[in-house]
Symmetry: D3
């Protein structure tokens, strides 16, 4: 196991212990190599670079996936990871609302619908802080 793989694997575990098994099981039988690239390059090379906090990296992941609009499974996963690294539900909601300016309202509404599902599973809510406005 390469040093890049170990570094990526550790970073994935920080984000969500379920993340690496999910990627590896998803790619089993079709491309274990791609799963390895995700670990080594995506998390080992990129996600461990200095200069950004993990909370910032999760803002970036949620924004990019909201903007793309075509990957609900990954967006769900990164919303969950955003909670795990300490972003509040409110911050996640605000991120998606701002993304609406660039990516349009439908992309944002779909992302908020996914966020609602993740928040419900976790038993958390963004509302006390955003509702008082």
């Amino acid at each position: 196991m390469s040093e890049r793989f170990e570094r990526g694997s550790a970073r994935m575990a920080e984000l969500d212990p379920a993340l690496q098994p999910l990627v590896e099981q998803g790619m089993a039988g079709v491309s274990p190599d791609f799963a390895r690239m995700v670990v080594e390059f995506g998390y080992g090379d990129v996600y461990t670079r200095p200069g950004l906090e993990l909370q910032q990296r999760q803002l970036i992941a949620v924004t990019a996936l909201t903007t793309l609009g075509h990957s609900p499974r990954q967006l769900r996963g990164h919303i969950g990871a955003a909670l795990n690294v300490g972003l509040t539900p409110q911050q996640i909601v605000e991120t998606i609302i701002q993304a609406a300016l660039y990516a349009g309202f439908p992309a944002a509404m779909n992302a908020l619908t996914l966020a609602r599902e993740v928040f419900a599973e976790r038993g958390v809510s963004p509302l006390p802080s955003s509702g008082d406005r």
Copy 2:
């Protein structure tokens, strides 16, 4: 309730009485503020501007959502609203067919598949007029 909200709410009701409850229930628990923005800005500020008829606005909504390709739920809703404001099933089909030129055949075929579902629910058909060609 702001004047912008009331204006948006009235416009949404013209398009489809189910529209505002759907948006508000969808955002309940995650971002009632975003639902309010949709009503106030999307429908109160933009959809009530002078210069375009509602039928023209629904051509625009159907075209943009066909082109984006990632929001089937919203496209379904706007196809239904297009019928409500008097566009014929044939006009909706022709709009999607033209969008194929810009957005590609897969995006158009997916949009036509959604249109078929909406038409079936409504008991309407685009075929008598387009089939004679």
Copy 3:
């Protein structure tokens, strides 16, 4: 020359006499076949179908190209054609503003910037009608 080609060629001339020469010169030396497909299929098969007025078709073209965001040359051309078939500058502006809801503000602002250039070349303005709001 096929009947589809003649029909497409006539439709292109209605939209803008410069359109077909532009497409053909652009594809000369690389793919005259593709220019022919644009004339035969795009304009001969699709743009001449019954059910939509040319003004409606230009709303669709402007909306789809605003949403895609990556084809300023074609968007400029279709804004010009929209004026030629009788859409007012105001209607074109309103179309792009509504597209902002689905495609985001940057795509709409870029489209409005192109519209401003086309309007200036034509010596027309959307402002008397939209400015009084």
Copy 4:
């Protein structure tokens, strides 16, 4: 039945005997004309042009649909057709992995997930050849 239609129909049958019925049934009741355009233009005009082998055309279809990210049904169909014209599961996997460079990892991972499903239905696997790396 036009010569273009017959040519397209024959080409579709080479790719997958289920393809044309699927398109026609999907468009029945909403736009048989669009199904005909897909056969005549998509397959009769474009897919039968000289200069590329069918295996190359399926690389192109799989790449474009992976990049778009919004049409899983069509991507599944073209992965199946890619197998039918003799591309190996490994070549399909490698195509999608390369597309990740341009379209991002989420689009590629979704495409590989669809490929896994198609390969399982066919009882084929990309792994003996790609796993030894």
Copy 5:
């Protein structure tokens, strides 16, 4: 001048004093209303919401515009604003590198090329901190 406009105007000035004049001059003659919407809704309603710091909002803007890929002018502007609110050149570069995972390498490389131009104009560099890796 509405309270929403004043709030948006103040927020734009915090990001970059050149921003509001740029938007207003760009929309002069075509849609002053759209410029007003950008100020009132984009900056007055969205950008002033509680829950995120301005540095976080600029991470979001840079990520979304990198992912869209079609709006270099706006991306340049938001990279400049990111510097103005205290993000370091290195943090901006790291944001774009992470966006490559979701949006692909070409979108990221184009964004980094724009960042280089903005950094050169400002006489700043991301390299002392990122180069030591």
Copy 6:
């Protein structure tokens, strides 16, 4: 210099001797790390995988970049590389024409316009073979 870097560097040279210097100069002063990632991961890890010929890989690159529509510089580069690895101008044109089915006509026409420029610089032409149809 890592083995991955050397492998990527060699692969880039096979595609086009100007490619690596172009990437490195483009990223100089902003992110030499990203240039290294492009060499190591893009070309060293992905482009050197077994299972596809370089001609196939260039079909994939041209298709993906045509579909994205937002990266003309990279598309130009990969059209040039496609010629370098032995794809004919006709094959490149046919690839782009097929991509029109998925990505729409404007994206394809823009790609053909770039191809025309590259062909002119190289003194090659796709026309003898495709024009006889």
